[in-house]
Amino acid sequence: MIQTRNLTKRYGSFTAVDTVNLNIPAGEIYGFLGPNGAGKTSTIMMLLGIVKPTAGEIRLFDEPYSSKRLDLRRRIGMVPEKHPVGMWTWMTAGEYLQMFAELFSLEEANRRIDHLLERVGLAEVKNKKFSEFSRGMLQKLSFVRALLHDPDILFLDEPISGLDPFGVKQIRDLILEENREGRTIFISSHILSEMEKVCQRVAIIFGGKLMAEDQMKSLLTTLAKDREIHVDLEELPAELIAKVKKLKFVQDAIGAEKTLIVKVPKTGDYRKELSKYLIDQNLVPLSIQEKSLSLEEAFVTITKENINLFAGIGGEK
């Protein structure tokens, strides 16, 4: 569905995107992650045909893509990070959407507008000037605009940035719902905890370079150096940590209030052995949980290694 080969964008001597190769199949929710200034928006702008690549190739729907391909652009929807403020202030939400419906020559535009506004909970404010809308309402309006022409690919640039928890949930549900209907969704974000909840596959971009790309689960498993088992106890005797550290499958152990945190090799599941040992010590485990690596931690691991790589013998900067 979306393919890039050696996609590169330079601004003078600064390389914003450096030989990025992407291959995103149809129907996937793809997370494009990186800190601010990593090259995410430049990549999206090139994929939309708004910014011309310095080098490399883009293929959308198995066809070569450039800014001239207005026919292919019709099959793309885009939700920018922020809705332009101060423009079209005289328009109601309905009139605004009608303008885009006309641009796309949509048939039965009114029905489609009503249906989409209903879906995002904005039906009641259709005839209100959208200059009076809140940030969350504008974001939902942007979604409706992007979905008006029923695009095959939906690009989302920082879709939940600045939203309250209720707005975040609404947008997340909308993303998942759209994906269930078969839409390919490309999300660029730096809010990793949220991406972990919706993305099936992620790519991590840092300094313009693609550092990692994999299925969410595989990425987290690959990057985890060890496993962490958290055991909640009724009480945590002072000598217990030293004893646990001596167990042959334990790499490290620490205590946090009444929780025992044990690091074990990622090759095996040692919850049973640990539980048995604690019972033998006359302790009652209230809960045993394995804590997996979060996307945030995976991201830090990847980018930190990358910094070391660039820093060479100079070490981490």
């Binding site: 708004i50 910014v51 793309i76 929807g77 332009p84 423009m87 005289w90 006309e102 641009l103 022409h149």
Partner: protein
């Protein structure tokens, strides 16, 4: 209809609607028509047995002396040779021309800066269709005002026993094409810049530069300034819409209608060239601020 033409027509319709529902266009028209009324009334009061004598009216005296100083006595004589309407046409046209040109340039800069232009190009529109839509709106609004102004001056002429001479009609046509070229330069200035302030500065700078160069070619000043202005005028004149406007009007004086239409065609050609360069600039610089 191809994608770009369709997007242009949709955007143009919206821009026309926006202009018609906002007060700015009507305010500019009102200012233009009030000026037209005052100038025609003032002219009638400055006519004696020998004909028009601008020293008889204070306002006209000031205008006359300023124009003689800037463009020379011959220019002023020609301007009033057929009565007040030629001068009135230019003055009454200015508020609307300036309003349309500056508001479009301002809006390009604003829409580019806040990302509205980019938003439009997520769909089947592109930077060029956006600019063409604005141009179509400006052309249509100009044409409407010129018709209104023509009717207004025609009635003013009837009431004062004055007629609109042939130079008036030829000037009316050339003024329409001159405005297209000026709007094209507005688009060019917008394509070069990333915000409203710099776009307006570049646009007004260009227009001022063209006026100064034209004044340099009209006035007879001895010495270095005159020579420098002449050399600059010769170089710049080919890209100045005012040169083609002046050229066409000179052919009118000579009664050479064929060459007049060639002057109009050249003005139109200049607009097309400026728009094409703007199109290339937008393609290169993109729609993002």
């Amino acid at each position: 209809m191809n994608q770009r033409a369709h997007a242009t027509s949709v955007l143009a319709k919206r821009r026309i609607l926006e202009t018609l529902i906002s007060p700015g266009y009507y305010v500019a028209q009102t200012i233009g028509l009030v000026l037209a009324y005052l100038l025609v009334a003032g002219f009638v009061r400055a006519v004696d047995s020998s004909g028009f004598n601008y020293t008889l009216n204070q306002a006209y005296e000031l205008i006359g002396r300023s124009l003689v100083g800037a463009f020379g006595a011959t220019f002023v004589e020609k301007l009033f040779s057929e009565g007040p309407f030629l001068f009135t046409l230019y003055i009454a046209f200015l508020p609307v021309l300036l309003y349309l040109a500056v508001s479009s340039v301002f809006r390009f800069g604003l829409e580019k800066k806040v990302g509205a232009l980019e938003l439009l190009t997520y769909g089947p529109a592109d930077g060029t269709s956006y600019f063409l839509a604005a141009l179509i709106k400006d052309i249509l609004m100009t044409a409407i005002y010129l018709v209104v102004l023509l009717l207004f001056l025609f009635i003013a002429g009837l009431l004062n026993n004055l007629i609109l001479g042939p130079s008036f009609y030829y000037s009316l046509v050339i003024l329409f094409f001159l405005s297209i070229a000026i709007y094209a330069y507005g688009i060019f200035a917008s394509s070069l810049t990333d915000n409203s302030a710099s776009a307006i500065a570049v646009f007004l700078g260009l227009i001022l530069f063209f006026i100064i160069i034209m004044m340099g070619s009209f006035t007879v000043v001895s010495g270095y300034v005159r020579n420098l202005a002449s050399v600059l005028a010769w170089i710049i004149k080919w890209i100045s819409p005012l040169f083609y406007w002046d050229l066409a009007l000179r052919f009118v004086e000579m009664g050479n209608w064929g060459m007049y239409f060639i002057g109009v065609a050249l003005l139109l050609l200049l607009s097309v060239v400026v728009l094409f360069i703007s199109h290339l600039t937008i393609k290169t610089r993109g729609v993002r601020a």
